[in-house]
Amino acid sequence: MTTPSQALAPAQRAVQLLGGDLSEVALRQHLEGLPTVDAVGLEARAASFGTRSIKTTSKAAALDTAIRMIDLTTLQGADTRGKVRSLVAKALVPDASDPSTPRPAAVCVYGDMVGNAVEALGSAWSAGKDDGINVAAVATAFPAGRASIAVKLQDTRDAVAAGADEIDMVIDRGAFLEGNYGKVFDEIVQTKEACRRDDGTFAHLKVILETGELVTYDNVRRASWLSILAGGDFIKTSTGKVQPAATLPVTTLMLQVVRDWERLTGERIGVKPAGGISTSKDAIKYLVAVAETCGEAWLDPHLFRFGASSLLNDVLLQRQKLTTGRYSGPDYVTID
């Protein structure tokens, strides 16, 4: 499935919100003027999402929703073409014992594997339609992001040219922590520009904040706003290469930002927690967080995704348990 990219030119949101001159000072004033985060309240709120009782039909619906939101991911140095093919096969037929199992939203691979993923998906590749599986590529010198801007942009263009429907970029955390918001902003704007296809449409841009390196909730809130202002279509918690990766409080905070942005502008931004979500129980807590922070309209693969690899198998085991009434085991799902 493909998400129609925003018609806005890059950086246009910031121009609309902060004024035409778009100076670094204006950006800094806006970001540092954001209210601080009540950490205790946020963590208590996040903990409360785990207390909902979700059983039987609600659980079945939640599990299917979770599968539809998964970006099935393999991001290893040891990835081979065969590994990507088998990941795609898993996305096409998540559970061979139950053809009614929904498919995940996308497969997420390194940029050089995009061509292989597209080829393996064949007719199931969304390629601009809204009823297939997207190919997402990590770019901009993932996961550290420590490369020149020229290298990062070329990385992005290569992936888009190979057919990537979605680009997962990393922000320059070093520059952000130095307080150099303008540099981070410019890089996102330029990467968004690099997502432009020949026909003028844009690949969907997800901006990875790497919240585990941003240290404070206040920084996460600022980075979220910064990414949205610069033109990100999604804000994503983590690369999965740094601990802590996605946590429920951080994801809740980011959901609050996109909710606020929608109230301010009417525009909907997506959120993608990634890394460390490996059980159905966790996934359902996140779905509760989405529904209770942004509303049920956000329970849509266009607006919420899980970056995960082992989560799918756990959800399938739970799904089999619900269908058959008996506990299933890891021998009954494929190893991707």
Partner: protein
């Protein structure tokens, strides 16, 4: 209270003073993954002796406890099967040693829960200890009985070796709770299986055996003990896809044909309550193994 008279000597005062100390009765909990959790359901069974006097509360395992126990057993299985046969033998022998040291506790529990005389209770405990020793000896010898070098018409070695089946769910015999439990758990452990067992009887000696296992260098999760209602737990274990074998030795009173049918859905190896392999035989140990056959070239030098 000893307030009426002032005592003359310290010794007589101590003797005369009624004890104000309260007993600390032990709650017998579950044994899962090397730990002793309560049942997630919060349920307990009150155990009384033959005259109806309170003995102890025993946690009553639920479906979700069984699920956790299978998970723990699965996690522990590769490590236990990967330990050397010699090492497994040492651990099982250690169980016998530790059991010997705590004989009095087991005699006491069996007297209370099974109404035995001290002599008969001691006899059961000793038989259980001897059975652990017997099985300890088999760990590095069972492959010689169950395996073979097969004759083939070619320049190959063709070797069949017994390997553990995996996770074994067991319904232990009701009678002679300690000896019965040992007679089904020990043979599964010899080859490297891990065990989820619903013990028979009141569950006291089963959980005390869990304490012995936990202090005998047996890795956590190799044996998981779920005191509770076998009729409630056995169907979940029989249907559980991540359980590889089902030992119904103690399920004679249950609808064990139904359990066997449930187990058949996931191709489990099943030991029936009737006409199963005799206890204390190598065949009983080999009943929970799979045969792996390998070909290997002979040198042509």
């Amino acid at each position: 209270m000893a307030t009426a008279k002032t005592a003359t000597t310290t010794a007589s005062r101590a003797a005369a003073k009624p004890s104000t100390r309260l007993d600390v009765p032990k709650t017998y909990k579950l044994f899962i993954g090397g730990a002793f959790p309560r049942s997630e359901s919060g349920r307990v069974t009150e155990v009384t002796d033959a005259r109806g006097r309170f003995v102890a509360n025993v946690a009553k395992a639920s479906r979700k406890d069984a699920r956790e126990a299978v998970r723990a057993a699965r996690k522990a299985q590769p490590g236990w099967a990967g330990a050397t046969a010699y090492n497994r033998g040492q651990v099982l022998y250690r169980v016998a040693e530790v059991l010997e040291g705590r004989k009095a506790q087991f005699v006491d529990e069996l007297q209370k829960t099974e109404g035995l005389t001290a002599a008969r209770a001691a006899k059961q405990v000793e038989a259980a200890i001897d059975l652990w020793v017997w099985h300890a000896g088999w760990t590095d010898k069972i492959a010689q009985i169950g395996g073979n070098a097969n004759p083939v018409a070619g320049p190959y070695f063709n070797l069949s070796v017994p390997e553990p089946t995996g996770v074994v769910a067991i319904v232990a015999p009701q009678a002679q709770s300690l000896l019965g439990l040992t007679s089904v758990v020990a043979p599964a452990l010899v080859t490297g299986n891990t065990v989820v067992v619903v013990p028979g009887g009141a569950g006291l000696s089963a959980i005390s055996l869990g304490e012995v296992l936990a202090t005998s260098d047996l890795p956590g999760g190799v044996v998981n003990i779920l005191p509770g209602d076998a009729a409630e737990l056995a169907p979940w274990l029989a249907g559980h896809a991540d359980v590889n074998a089902l030992d119904l030795t103690g399920a004679g009173e249950l609808d064990w044909v139904e359990l066997e049918q449930l187990a058949a859905d996931t191709l489990k190896r099943v030991i029936r309550p009737v006409a199963g392999p005799a206890p204390e035989t190598p065949q009983r140990i080999l009943a929970l193994t799979e045969t792996k056959t390998v070909w290997h070239t002979k040198s042509r030098l």
